[in-house]
């Protein structure tokens, strides 16, 4: 059986192409570019790289971009006042706060202050509620990217068992909501799950977002399962690996995402799509997306 490597590259190219074209129409129609503002607090090296990548990707599709870099010791109050300015700036369409925030920073005090209509990470309860109900709106980038990736490779979740390892607000929970929407049967596991291997092994599609390098070996995988690896870790030797032991499971799976080059680039592509969605929605609110909420 042929293994499918679920590479993000062709999907990302397709999305970027489509977003570029839509950005062009947007500019023609509204005489301005959609704009994404990223707040970066502190100087975590990985965050600086990710923020840079987001900026490059935005510019490449014609989306205006700024990174507002704040020092490590910035107070929540100062982050709030930056957010207030961005929320009320009519030319800013998308706002995101790069995570992780510095150790001890009260994340919850600021993250929910992003205006829901500009909340391109879809962290705000209103946006979470909307996609949970299947209503149109901004969707969390990583799980939305995984749905696009599987769709591109014709992997259909309907009536499949999808096991999700992880229950974060950013991946695990919204991932379950999206697969449920797609008529999959959901098994959701996490650090308190007592029989992870057994539940994981039932999956037709296994999504691993545990944040633990190499957690999943072939004993967790059903033959011909599709494996989506959300993890990203750097080994002491500088190699980038995921939550799944790729070399160990590859013989067993029917399809698997590479790390890097799988879920990561999809997340950035969805951020572009969300920024464009927010921009269009702000200029011309559809009935469901704005007037009701």
């Amino acid at each position: 059986m042929n293994k499918i490597l679920l590479s993000a590259k062709p999907v990302v190219n397709k999305i970027k192409h489509s977003v570029s074209e839509q950005v062009r129409s947007f500019i023609e129609k509204y005489s301005r570019r959609p704009k994404l503002s990223v707040i970066l607090v502190g100087c975590d090296p990985a965050s600086i790289i990710y923020t840079g990548k987001k900026g490059e990707a935005a510019i490449a599709v014609g989306i205006e971009h700024e990174t507002i870099s704040l020092p490590e010791n910035t107070s929540p109050k100062d982050v709030k006042s930056v957010l207030q300015r961005l929320n009320s700036d009519p030319l800013v369409d998308g706002i995101l706060i790069q995570r992780p925030l510095p150790k001890g920073f009260p994340e919850k005090d600021v993250v929910f202050l992003v205006s829901p209509e500009k909340d391109v990470d879809a962290f705000h309860p209103l946006n979470i509620g909307k996609f949970t109900l299947g209503l149109p709106g901004l969707k969390p980038c990583t799980p939305a990217g995984i749905m696009e990736l599987l769709n591109f490779y014709n992997i259909l979740p309907e009536s499949k068992i999808v096991t999700i390892i992880g229950r974060s607000s950013i991946v695990g929970k919204p991932m379950a909501a999206m697969f449920l929407q797609a008529n999959a049967t959901i098994i959701q596991c996490h650090s308190k799950t007592s029989n992870l291997r057994e539940l994981s092994k039932q999956a037709d599609i296994l999504v691993v977002a545990a944040g633990k390098a190499g957690l999943i070996d072939s004993s967790y995988i059903k033959s011909n399962a599709v494996v989506v690896d959300v993890g990203i870790h750097k080994t002491n030797e500088g190699k980038i690996i995921g939550d799944v032991l790729f070399d160990d499971v590859i013989e067993k799976v029917s399809a698997i995402t590479p790390v890097p080059g799988g879920v990561g680039p999809m997340t950035i592509a969805m951020l572009l799509q969300n920024t464009l969605f927010a921009a269009n929605n702000r200029e011309e609110p559809s009935r469901l997306c704005k007037s009701q909420f």
Copy 2:
């Protein structure tokens, strides 16, 4: 082994007692009663009975209550204008639209118009997002009632496998979110699930909200499982039954909710609790419940 009948009665009494006392303090403090307004469209006999029960329960704990009965052919526009009046009435704390609405009535056009702070059914996306994130706020009555019921009988979901059959916005989805919050491992099944029996049989706690009379017999049940039956149906002989064949499964379970007398009364008790929560929150918004959202 002793079977536990998860009767709502002692739990409801306890909740009503507690709500009554809190209502008394509320009245002393704010010189008014908390108030619940129910909108009833049409004359579905079951809805009339349920609405009546809600009213009685409210009055019994000192909550003011009104049912606004509208004729079967009321237009969405007219329901909207009633909602606008109730949303802006400072003396109304809780609003609910009794469901089902008449056949063909565009439910989504009105149900999301209830102000989130008065939304005692917790249907609004903002409320759904809040409890999904584990933030304080209004919670859907039926799943919240089930959590209270299990807690009363010392059934702890942590690290247990909870299979939920059903994925409605009113029961199945919020039920999964609440059990996840309580550190259970979740299996969520529905009409498109292809191996329901097998997944159901893995459950330490099985919640059946399928809306199909007698769907679940003993072959779906693991020995000593806890069974929560959300279904309520009337047979041709006038008997009230659930989604679970009680007599068939009773030998196998360790605990089970009766129908009637299990989940149903809990739902009403939680409605009282939500109305009180909304009233207190409106008078004295806590930081998390109002100022942020």
